[in-house]
Symmetry: C3
Subunit: 468 residues, 3 copies
C-alpha cells in the first residue's frame, strides 16, 4: 500500500482534480527533458573512475546529513550512524538503525527522495517499512554490485546532461579533464570554483591555503598582490577546464569595496594571526566584491550561499567534523549588504549573480525586487531545508508576482547523493507543474503559455543563467 505512493504518477500534484489534470499535462511536457545540474557536490573522481557504489549504509545513510540529523534527533548517537562502509557488519547495523527510524521521515523532503530512489532506482517493490531491514539491505546491496549500477551507466540512465561539481581552487581538475577527454562518455562534468577556505580568514586552513595558493599560482608575486593574482589565475584555470561558476558559502551577504591599502592591511594581520572577528567580516565582504569583479572579467557566474551558522553544536563538530547536521540558518538581509557590489557591477555586461537564501522572508521582500531590476541578479532556487515541495511552492508564490518566471536560476539539487539526483529534479518539476497549473486554473496564465513557461523554467533557465 505505502509503496504505491512512490510510484503514483500523480505524486506531489495538487489534489483538486481540475488543477491536477492541468498539472499532469504540464509535467508530461518536461518529464523527459535531460537533467541540468549546475550546482552540486558529487565527486568527479567517482565519475572518472566509474567507482562502484559502496554498501547501502555507506551510500545512503552515513554521508547524508539530512538523514543522520533526524535519526540523531530521535536519540541515536552520531557514532552509530557515521561509520557506514567501515565493514559489512557495521554497515548492516547502521542500516537496521536507519530502517527502524524510517517512520521519522514521513512528510520530509529526505523521505520523499529516499522513497523515490527505493522505488525507481533500487526497485525494492515495497515500502521500506514493509520489508525487514536485512531484506532491503540485501536487495540494495545486490543492485549495487550489478555492472549497470556503476556511476557512468546511471549518469546515462538518469538522463543527466550536465553535472557541476564543487572544487577546491587548487584542485588539478584532473578528473574533469579525463572525463572531458574520454570519447566513451558523453556527459558534461564541470568543475566549480569554491574558494571559501581561501577567503574566510577565520577558516582553520586559511593561512596554509593562502601559502599554497600564492606559492603555486601567483606568477611569482607575493603578499596581497600575489593572493589576488593567484585567485585570478586559478579562476582562469577553472574556466579553461569548463567551469561556468564560482560558488561562495559566506556567513552573510555583506559586500564592501575596501581601499587596496586597507585590504592589504587586514590580509597581513590575518597572516600574522592577529585579525579580529570584525576583520574577518570586513575581509570576507571585500573579497565578495573582488570575486564579483573577477566574475565580470572572466565570465564565471557568481553564486552566493549565505545565512547558515555552521557547526552549531561544538561537541559534535569536535568529535565528528563538519557537515554533520547542525548547520542552522539565521535571519538574512540582502538589501543593504549586497548594495556595494551592485553599485559597481549590478548592470555589468554578462555578469550573472545568483543569490540564495535559507531565510524565506527574503524571497518576496528583497530577492524578487532585486532580481526584478538588476540584469545581473537571479533568484537562487529554494535551497537546503527549503528544497522541498511546500517550500518550493511558497518560493514561487513569493517571487512570481514581482518578477515572473524569467529571473530564477532553475533547480539546483546541491547534493552529494548521486542516486538521489533524479528524484530531486523530478520533485522540482512536479512542483513547477503544480504551481503553474494553479495559475492556469485561476485563469492567470493561459495553458499554452504555461506549456512554454515550464520548459523555460526547467530547461532554458539553468542553461541561460549558468551560461551552459
Amino acid at each position: 500500500m505505502s509503496q504505491s505512493i512512490a510510484a503514483n504518477p500523480d505524486r506531489l500534484l495538487p489534489a483538486d482534480p481540475g488543477t491536477r489534470s492541468i498539472a499532469r499535462s504540464l509535467l508530461e511536457r518536461v518529464q523527459d527533458l535531460p537533467i541540468i545540474s549546475p550546482h552540486g557536490h558529487v565527486d568527479a573522481a567517482v565519475i572518472e573512475h566509474n567507482t562502484p557504489f559502496p554498501d547501502p549504509a555507506a551510500l545512503l545513510v552515513s554521508p547524508d546529513h539530512y538523514v543522520t540529523r533526524l535519526i540523531h534527533a530521535s536519540g541515536v548517537p552520531m557514532d552509530k550512524l557515521l561509520s557506514g562502509g567501515a565493514n559489512a557488519s557495521e554497515s548492516r547495523e547502521i542500516w537496521r538503525t536507519f530502517v527502524q527510524a524510517w517512520p521519522l521521515f514521513e512528510g520530509t523532503a529526505s523521505g520523499y527522495w529516499l522513497r523515490t530512489q527505493f522505488d525507481s532506482v533500487f526497485k525494492l517493490g515495497a515500502d521500506l517499512g514493509e520489508m525487514s531491514a536485512d531484506a532491503s539491505y540485501d536487495a540494495i546491496a545486490a543492485k549495487l554490485v550489478e555492472p549497470d549500477f556503476r556511476p557512468r551507466q546511471l549518469f546515462k540512465d538518469f538522463n543527466i546532461e550536465v553535472l557541476a561539481t564543487t572544487d577546491d581552487p587548487l584542485d588539478s581538475l584532473a578528473s574533469h579533464k579525463a572525463i572531458a577527454e574520454d570519447p566513451s562518455f558523453n556527459g558534461r562534468v564541470l568543475p566549480t570554483f569554491r574558494p571559501d577556505a581561501y577567503l574566510n580568514i577565520a577558516h582553520p586552513a586559511w593561512g596554509a591555503n593562502v601559502e599554497r595558493l600564492v606559492d603555486s599560482a601567483a606568477d611569482g608575486a607575493s603578499g596581497y598582490t600575489g593572493y589576488i593574482k593567484a585567485l585570478e589565475n586559478r579562476r582562469r584555470y577553472f574556466v579553461d577546464h569548463g567551469a561556468v561558476s564560482a560558488d561562495h558559502g559566506v556567513l552573510t551577504p555583506a559586500t564592501l569595496k575596501l581601499d587596496r591599502s586597507e585590504a592589504e592591511r587586514i590580509f597581513e594581520l590575518a597572516r600574522a594571526g592577529k585579525a579580529t572577528a570584525e576583520d574577518r567580516n570586513t575581509f570576507e565582504a571585500h573579497m565578495m566584491y573582488q570575486m564579483a569583479r573577477m566574475s565580470v572579467e572572466d565570465g564565471l557566474v557568481m553564486t552566493i550561499h549565505p545565512g547558515s551558522f555552521r557547526n552549531h553544536h561544538q561537541p559534535t563538530f569536535a568529535a565528528y567534523g563538519a557537515d554533520t547536521g547542525h548547520d542552522i540558518p539565521f535571519a538574512t538581509n540582502y538589501t543593504e549588504a549586497i548594495r556595494p557590489l551592485l553599485q559597481d557591477f549590478g548592470t555589468a555586461k554578462d555578469f550573472h549573480l545568483v543569490l540564495f537564501t535559507l531565510d524565506e522572508t527574503v524571497f518576496s521582500r528583497e530577492l524578487a525586487p532585486l532580481a526584478g531590476f538588476y540584469p545581473s541578479v537571479y533568484l537562487g532556487a529554494p535551497w537546503w531545508f527549503l528544497d522541498a515541495p511546500d517550500a518550493m511552492l511558497r518560493f514561487r508564490s513569493a517571487v512570481t508576482e514581482t518578477t515572473g518566471f524569467s529571473r530564477s536560476s532553475g533547480f539546483i539539487d546541491d547534493t552529494r547523493a548521486f542516486c538521489s539526483i533524479p528524484a530531486r529534479h523530478d520533485a522540482s518539476r512536479r512542483i513547477e507543474a503544480s504551481f503553474l497549473a494553479r495559475l492556469v486554473a485561476e485563469h492567470r496564465v493561459s495553458e499554452d503559455r504555461a506549456h512554454e513557461i515550464i520548459v523555460d523554467v526547467v530547461d532554458s533557465s539553468p542553461r541561460r543563467v549558468f551560461k551552459l
Copy 2:
C-alpha cells in the same frame, strides 16, 4: 486563446469548484460598487483639464516603474524605455520593446493589470502576444484620441466615486478646487498631504523646501517654531480643500517624542548642513510623532509607508532620477518603533493611523496584534510589491485570525496609472471573494455573513477608515 483569460469571469477565483461557486456569488455582490481610492498618485491637473492621454508608450510603459524595471532586468537599458512621448517614432520603438518583453510579465501583478486593461479598457480583442506590436500600438493609439477616452469620461466609466491624489504641502490645490467647484463633474478628487521632502532632513530639497514653507505659511514665525506652525497651517489648508489624510513615506516606522529644545537643535543643525545620519533618523522619528499630534488635532488620517531603500542603484538614480524601479524593501519592525507615538495617541479620539509594510512578516507578528488592540491602528492593505493576488491572500490569512475583517484599510491602489485603476480594484475584490469563499467552504463563516463582510471590506472599510 490567451485573450480569453483576461475576459474569463472566473479569473483569480479559486480552482475548487465548490469554493469558486461561493466566490462568484460574493464577487457579484460587490462587482458594481463604486471605486473608492483613498491613496494614489494620479495628477489632479489631468482631471481638471481633462487632458487627453499621450501615446501608448508614454501612457503605459515609460512612467510605470513596475513595467520598466522588469524589462530593464531582461537587459534593456533604461534609456530605451523612459522617453515615451518624446516623439512618435521613439514611442513606437519603446512599444515594440515592451511587446517583445511582454512574456516576461506572465504571472506578475503588472501583467495582470495590463492584460485586463488591454481587454476591458482598450478592447484589443486578442492577447498582446498575438498581435504585431504595431497593430496593438495603433489600436490603443486610436482609442486614446477618441473623445470618450478623456480622463473625466473614464473616471465616470470606471465608476470612481473618490480619488485621492498625493500632493506637495505647498501645492495651491488649484486643480482640486477647480474640480470641486465644477458642477459638470461629480467625482470627488481629494488632495493628500505628503510632507516627506519637508521632514526628511537628508532630502536634497529639504533646506529650500523649509525656507519656502516657513516664508509662505508660518504666519510670520521663524525657525523651528515657524516650521511647526507652517506645517500645521498647510495641513489645515489641505483639510479645507477636502484632504482626508496625510501620507508619510519614511525609512523606518521609528517615532520619538523629543524635547522641544532638542528638536530645535537638530533642526538648526540641519539648516546649517551639519546634521548626521543619526540626526536624520532622530528628526524623522520626532516629526512622525509631531504629525500624529497634528492628526489628532486636525483629523487627517495618518498613513505610514516605511521600509523601502529608495534608489538602490546610484548610477541609475544619477542618470534617470527617482522612481525608476530600484527601490528595494528591507526588514521592518513596528512593535518598538511605533510605541512612543502610540503611548500618547494610540487611544486618542478619532485618530486613525494606517500602517503599511513591504515586509510581510510584520502582518501576523506585529500589525495584526497592534490593530487588534489600538482603536487608532488600521492595517494598511498589501502595498506595492505585495499588491498582487497571492500576496493579498497571504495578507488576509496572516491577519484575519487575529483581527477579523474590521481593522483593515480597504484596498489602496497607490497608482499613477489611471487606466489601471479598475483592474486593480477588480483584482482586489476577486481576492477578497476568494478568501471569504474559502472560509465559507470550511464552515468558518456563514455564507450570509460573508455577503455582509465583503461589502464592509470593499466599500465600508475605506469610507470608515479614511473618514469619507
Copy 3:
C-alpha cells in the same frame, strides 16, 4: 443558518471533496481521544473546590484578553469590559456590549472557540447574532447554575485526562495535592513551575520575591548561593507534587553561561536596585542556562515562550494591569541566542526543551533545523496569536518537510478559559487532519501511515514530550 456552521461536522476541513473525505476519516480516528493539556492557565483551586462558574460576562468576556482587545479596538473603553462579575447589571451590560461586537469576531480564532462553545457546551441552538443579548445571557446563565456545569463534571465531560496549571514557585500546591488525593476525582491536574517573577530582575516584585524565596527555601543559605539553592528546592517540591515542566516567559531566547562571580555580582547589584537594562538581559540569559542545568538534573521539561513586548500601552497597563490585550510580538532569533544552552545540554540525556515563538519566520528557518538535530529540542505548537486554523497549517507546512511529525510538542491550549478547552483541542485536531489529508491526497504519505501519524501527533507526542 449561521448556527449550522458551529455544528457542521466538516468545519475547518479543506474544501476539496477528495481531501475532505480523507480528513474526515483521519479526524474520526482521534476525535474521541482524551484531552492532554500540558500547558495552560486554569486555576487549580477551581477544580479543587469545584467552584461554580460566574456569570456569562465574568466567565467569557472580562478575563479573556483575546476578546476584550478586539472590542477595545472597535472603540469601547476598557472599563466597559473588565468588570464582569462586579454585579448582575454590570455583567449584563458587558454582555450586551460583547454581543453587539460579536460580528467583529468573524474569521478570528476567538470567534471560532466562542461559537463552538455556544453550540456544544452551552447549547444555545442559534448563533449569538440571531438572539437578543439578554436571551443569550439568560440561556448561558441558566446553564451555569446547573449542577452539571461545575468544573469537575465538565472536566469529565470534556474528556480531559491531564491538565497542567501554571504556578508561582512558592505556591504551596495545596490544591494540586487535594485533587490528587481525592479518590472521587480521576483527572490529573499538574502544577507547572513558572519562575519569571523570580528570574527577571526588572520585574517589580523581583526583590520581594527573592527575599521570600531565599527565606523560605534556601535551607539556610543566603545571597546568590541561597537563591540558586532555593530555586532547586522549589523545583524539587514541584516535581514531588506532580509537575512535569518548568515554563519561562522571557523577552528573548538569549542564554548565557556566566562565571559564578559575575552572576553573583549582577544578583547583588539587582538586590541593591542598581542593575541596568543590560544587566537584566544578561541575568535572564544566565538564569535560562541555569534553568536548563536544573532541568537536566531534576527532569522537568523546559519550555520557553519568548518574543512578546508585554504591556505595550503604558496608560492601559497603569489603569488596568497586565494581560489586558496589548502584549505585542516582535522579531525573534533563536539560532545564536539558544546556542550557549545547547552547547552544554543539547544532547543531555532525557533533557526536553520545548521552544515556542510568536514570530512565524523562525519555524522553517531556525526551529525546524534545531529540532531536526538536537535530541532535546521540540517544536512548540503555534501559540497565542498563532493558535488558529490557518496559522497552524502554516506551521505544519513550515516545519514538516525538515523535521517530519516526531519533533513537535503536541497541541498546547495555553488558556485560562476552561470552557474553551474542548473547542481549542478540537480545532487543532481538525487542522492536523486537514494537513495530513493534503499530504495523503498528494501521495506524499500513505493513508495508513497518516492514521498512525495523527494518533502520534494528537496523543503520543504530548505524552512523550511532556513525560506524561
